[in-house]
Each structure stands twice: as structure tokens, then as C-alpha cells.
Subunit: 143 residues, 2 copies
Amino acid sequence: MKLSTRSRYGLKAVVDIAAQEGKSVSIKSIAARLAISENYLEQLIIKLKKAGILNSVRGAGGGYSLKLSPEDITVGRILNILEGSLYPAKCLDSTDETCGDGVCSPCVTKGVWEKIYESVTNVVESITIMDLVNNHRKLYGDD
Amino acid sequence: MKLSTRSRYGLKAVVDIAAQEGKSVSIKSIAARLAISENYLEQLIIKLKKAGILNSVRGAGGGYSLKLSPEDITVGRILNILEGSLYPAKCLDSTDETCGDGVCSPCVTKGVWEKIYESVTNVVESITIMDLVNNHRKLYGDD
DNA sequence: TTATATACTACTATTTTAATAGGGTTTGCT
DNA sequence: AGCAAACCCTATTAAAATAGTAGTATATAA
């Protein structure tokens, strides 16, 4: 029941980019601030770009910036992109009452997984990148 | 952000045992009903026994039964035993505001992980094994 | 004393995650 | 023009966690 480093690194990277307000931010500089591998970070950033969260500018002086306003991007959206889905069990992919594996149907525990999913979704959809940027500013200053 | 099969199999096994109301239930019979490996299930059951959830009776005719009333065992307790912890990020182990890896401190995203943890905990602590047994009875009958 | 069933330990296979590596393309700048 | 910065893309490997297998020892009811 752990989030992957993809989610953890990726969300921090988005906040890092958002905190620069429109400036192009290079992978190199993000990786340095977060102390993680540039190559690995790049894979996450590219996913976010393909999902429509980030803009990119190629060439010298280029980098990434937010494609949307930080208040319009929820944490949930980022986590879904990087995590695949926030389902706590894969049986939630199927719409019926079974577990999808044909074993227990109907399934006694499926309701539990659904409630977990709903509550997690509720939390992460209620927090925006703007909230985290404000957080960031309080902690690290305004510039 | 997935629960392991340990949790999924284990919780179903506990409900299965609880549904027999005090009778000793063998691993073999549980494994057959859940269509999973006996040896693998045994490892989960033993964890639950060591954690004080189950009683065991050895020898012919033996098996496992609940050590506590089903209404006194929450789903959260079972998941914690089998999953290790329900923290969505390992940084929640540390009590301060850092991520524990010394990289980002204070950490901008830690609050998000805390809120996820709290909401998940809230859900799973509010559901008892009794609730799931009732569920089970409705679906499969009373005997 | 035999069949059943728990108790325990070690090992192996599979899958997922994390990380690395390297070549290609675009663009600003001198 | 040419170089360096930086995105773009894919393949491979390493590490860790998960899932599953195997086998032996011990207890007990019949």
C-alpha cells in the first residue's frame, strides 16, 4: 500500500516547476534540487508532458513549465498519471460485483476496497498544486 | 498504491473462518474455497495467529478459529498485520517534518501523504469482520 | 499407529520498481 | 557555422518486493 517513487518524485517536481511561475525549468536543475537521477526524473516528466500537464521548450535555455494553472491541477490527477491508477486492488477495474479472477463472486471484500478508493480519491482531488506551492512558499520563502 | 495479495487473501480467510462461528477451520478447506495455494495461505494465517487474531488446534480435526469476537476485529487491524503498515510513504515513519532521507526538509508533500493515511485508516477502522460476515451471509446464505 | 493438520524454515520464481545508458533532435548563442 | 544546452526516445540492467513452492517436524484424534 505504498506510493511509488514515481509519484513522490513526480509530484515534488511539479510543485518545483509550479513555484517558478511560467519560467522554463530544466530537468537538470530540478534533479539537483530534489537530489535524484536526471535520467529517471526525465521519464516521469515526459509522462506528465504527454498527459497534458506540462509544456516543454527544446534547446538551450529550454525546459518545462505548467500547461495549466496550478489551481486547476489536483494532486489526484498527477498521482493517477504516475501511478497508473489509485485502485487499491485490481478487481476494481471490473464493473460487476466479482473480483475479476472468477474465484469469489460475488466478492465479500470488494466493498472495502471501494471505500478505500473513494476516500483516497476524495483527499487527493481536494488538494491542488497551488495549495502545495503556497506550502512551499511558506517553508522556503517567496522568490 | 496496491494492497498485496497477502492482505486480500488474508482478509478473505479471516471472514471465511469467522463465518464458521467457532468451529476449527482447516487451511486446506479455506484454500479450496478461496482457490489459492495452501502453503502460501498458511504463511498468512500464521502471521495472524502470532498477532493474536486466531486460535489454532493441532492434529486431526484441528484448524483455526477466531480468538476475538468478529465485532472486535477491524479490517484495519488485519491489513496492518499483513501489510506491515498502511503508510502510503515510508517518510511517515519519522515524526518530524522531513522525508527521512535528508533530501527535502521540510517536505512539501508530506502533508498529502498524511491526509491519505488518515482517510484510509478512518475507513478500515470503521469496518469490522462482523460487518463482512453479515455481508457474506447475505450473499451466500446462513448455514 | 495411521491419517490429519498445524508449525516452521528455506528456497525459487515472478513481477514490479528503480535506475542507468546512450543516441538523436532542436535551438540559442557566439 | 558550430558548439553547447536541453529536450526526446528507447533499450537494458539492477534491485527489491511479492508470490509461490517444497519439505520436514510435531501434535493429536480416532
